[in-house]
Amino acid sequence: MPVRYIVRRSLHSLLLLLGVSLVVFLLLHVVPGDPATVLLGEQATPERVAEIRRALGLDRPLAEQYWRFVSRAVRGDFGQSIRAMRPVLPYVLERLPATVELSVGALLVSAGLGIPLGVLAAVRRRSVWDRLSLNLALLAQSAPNFWVGLLLIALFSVKLGLLPVSGRGGFAHLVLPSLTLAIFFVGLVVRLTRSGMLEVLSQDYVRTAWAKGMPERRVVFRHALKNALIPIVTVLGLQVGTLLGGAVVTETVFAWPGMGLLAVQAISQRDYPVVQAIVLLLGAAFVAINWLVDVSYTLLDPRIQHA
């Protein structure tokens, strides 16, 4: 195990997270709109806004506010939600299981549909299966996912009455949101798998395997796919971070109580502590997953050396 690489990679990740915290803090304070004004809404008088800003500590210098945020965050204290008036960390973490559930569901759909279709397209190159897979992939990547979601609801929930419209519950509740979130990634995975497989299938060792009379199944799955998986694992790993943070539209359409929906609401309400916490937590998840992906390279292909 390359220890020096892991240590260096870990320090790099921490610096990255600090940078993320600073950027999100500054962005929140630079964009127009103020939490006290949003809280008071149409009843926002200058006096009441000033009172509430004082009560929330928003009248302090930015550097002081940032230092307070970071020094508390390292201890797991992200302050109190301005809107919910509750400690932020448990408030946000309550929503994490829903987002993880949706992301895992979408990931399984992306891989479960995308990889087989990609393999089929590559192995039956230039056949009707190849063209069908590529066209489906293109359609999947082009369709806006809120439109897909509403369409799926109209068909499977309202017209056919087979699946619930919204909310989180058992497996039935997960089907449509997972499909909606996965749709773009299915297309991506099909194309990646196809191109990865085509490249590997043209390698000398694969030709040798064919020449030796090895069964097609063994050549494709044991030799070719295993090597083609490296870029696919990379992309899927990156997509997990995107899925975690990018489920906003899907969560809104399906009223799925995840962090994406909470993030959107918190941004509209300028609930600074909640936004900062979500961005940092998702950032940490993203960084951690990328770290895992890098390490898993070594397991998949021992030839990959880390400088």
């Binding site: 004004t37 009441r48 009560a55 008036m85 609801i153 919204s166 909310g167 989180r168 929906l261 909470l262």
Partner: protein, 511 residues
């Protein structure tokens, strides 16, 4: 009966009773209600604290289900007793006689100390309560006995009496013990008690069997938050829920055309308008502001964009509010007159920077676009922006430094008290952040009118105030926002009312 044993007589009587029961017509037997009413609301309150939340319809999920106020509105929007049976106003004092025998869901009695606690917490200097201004004039309370309390003010502000509908009663012991968790563990006196709240997902309340008043027919209500209009409608169509709010006007047919559903609507006490910065040229000229009102066909907007469900504004304040029934000259659609007024004011071809919210009020962006079109037809150059709410309201309240010459907003007088609008929007102490309108005579009239307790006299005073406002036109008066509710057709016991509170406890829905 001679010759029959006791057993035989009892048997005969039972048989007769059974036969009679079988023969009773079906409708005479009590119909069973659904066990759980499922409701989808467009917005998640985030917290269930009635003093710290600002906004309909989120309030209605826990108030008046879990929480109640001392005073309330009946279906005609008259002020009536609720937790207070009756009240007396003497000079600057409001004496409340509280209902005896009322207890909170945790068994603690509701008494005068609850009212004292609420008033003190809300009006404290460090209070973050969003409703503070409603009762800020109360400087002291006196408890006479367990069920009598007086609120003392410096002057007899009628508005404070009316505003008591916005002060919900929280059990003081529980509030102190729960601290910040009061927002997720509400304890009130209402006909329903709290069961579970999962932010972002749902709120469940169940019938409070110890409630002092008429018990709800439905045992449980499950509120879910579905922000997306299409999804909320789909949930109603599929039967997943039986009640939704905010049916978009452009999708009414999905409810009205569905034989399982029905649309319930009313005009509310919320006026939709565009404030005009009267402190910048050429809008400082009354003729320009009146021209704007003549140039825009608010009846056509109400008829088309709001699908006939809104009422075009005929007064500056909704008609059901005290003084809102003033008979005022019509700003009928007259582009020729508008052009003439603009010409007389030397404002032909003037540029108007206009802002509107986008999704805050029903069809707000579309209404603003229509206004833009109407003003362009009379030769004005209109630049319209529709940013998201936080950015928008942040810009609007910059006041004289705001970039918008005209801004679209809604003002909901949920207290049915005209001072709430007159003071905030037409009194120069407060108009800086909205229109910059200054009229010292009007200020005096507003200051005097709020002290008139006699409703008939107050009505006359507000007629004069609103007549002035109408003529001076610091606003483009658009329409009163409708409340559009989609429900299961079999639902009874519910009607939307102008104060925008959704009264769930009276609902019945057969199983």
């Amino acid at each position: 009966m001679v010759g029959l044993t006791r057993r035989e007589v009892l048997g005969l009587l039972s048989g007769a009773a059974g036969a009679a029961a079988l023969g009773v017509p079906r409708r005479a037997r009590a119909q069973k209600s659904v066990e759980t009413l499922k409701v989808a609301i467009s917005g998640d309150p985030g917290n269930l604290h009635p003093w710290m939340l600002n906004g309909m319809p989120m309030f209605s999920t826990f108030w008046p289900t879990v929480y109640e106020s001392v005073l309330w509105h009946d279906e005609k929007m008259n002020l009536v007793g609720n937790l207070a049976e009756r009240w007396e106003v003497t000079g600057s004092d409001i004496k409340l006689h509280l209902k005896p025998g009322v207890s909170y869901h945790n068994g603690k009695p509701f008494e005068a100390d609850s009212v004292k606690y609420a008033v003190e917490q809300i009006t404290a200097p460090t209070s973050k309560a969003l409703w503070k201004s409603m009762i800020a004039a109360v400087h002291k309370t006196t408890i006479h006995d367990k069920h009598t309390i007086t609120l003392h003010m410096d002057k007899p502000f009628r508005s404070v009496l009316m505003n008591l509908v916005t002060i919900a009663m929280i059990e003081p012991g529980h509030a102190q013990a729960a601290g910040e968790r009061i927002g997720v563990q509400p304890v009130g006196t209402g006909p329903y008690k709290f069961v579970e709240y999962v932010p972002g997902s749902h709120l469940i309340v169940e019938r409070h069997e110890g409630y002092y008043g008429p018990k709800p027919k439905i045992a449980r209500i499950q509120f879910r938050w579905i922000p997306e209009n299409g999804t909320r409608l789909a949930a109603l169509e599929s039967g997943e829920v039986q009640f939704i709010n905010n049916v978009p006007p452009d999708q009414l047919a999905r409810v009205e055309g569905n034989e399982r559903l029905k649309l319930l609507s009313t005009s509310t006490a919320r006026i939709i308008y565009m404030g005009i910065r009267t402190d910048r040229k050429p809008f400082d000229d009354k003729r320009v502001r009146q021209a704007i009102n003549f140039a825009v066909d608010n009846e056509a907007i109400a008829r088309t964009i709001l699908r006939g469900k809104a009422q075009a504004a005929t007064t500056p304040i909704a008609p059901m509010i005290l003084g809102g029934d003033a008979k005022l000259p019509d700003y009928n659609y007259d582009p020729a007159k508008a052009r003439a007024l603009l010409k007389a004011a030397g404002a032909e071809g003037a540029t108007v920077n206009m802002g509107s919210s986008n999704g805050r009020y029903i069809m707000d962006r579309q209404v603003a676009e229509a206004v833009q079109g109407y003003l362009q037809k009379v030769g004005l150059k209109v630049n319209l922006e529709t940013p998201e709410w936080a950015t928008y309201i942040g810009e609007v309240v910059k006041g004289d430094k705001a970039k918008y010459d005209m801004h679209l907003l809604g003002w909901g007088v949920i207290t049915m008290e005209p001072d709430y609008q007159a003071r905030d929007h037409y009194h120069s102490a407060n108009t800086k952040r909205w229109t910059g309108y200054v009229n010292k005579e009007l200020d005096k009239a507003i200051d005097e009118a709020v002290l008139i307790m006699d409703r008939a006299k107050a009505r006359e005073a507000y007629h004069k105030i609103f007549a002035t406002v109408w003529d001076e036109a610091p606003w483009l008066f658009l329409h009163y926002q409708p409340e559009l509710i989609g429900v299961d057709r079999r639902m009874t016991g519910f009607a939307p009312l102008p104060d925008e509170w959704l009264r769930f406890p009276t609902i019945d829905l057969p199983a």
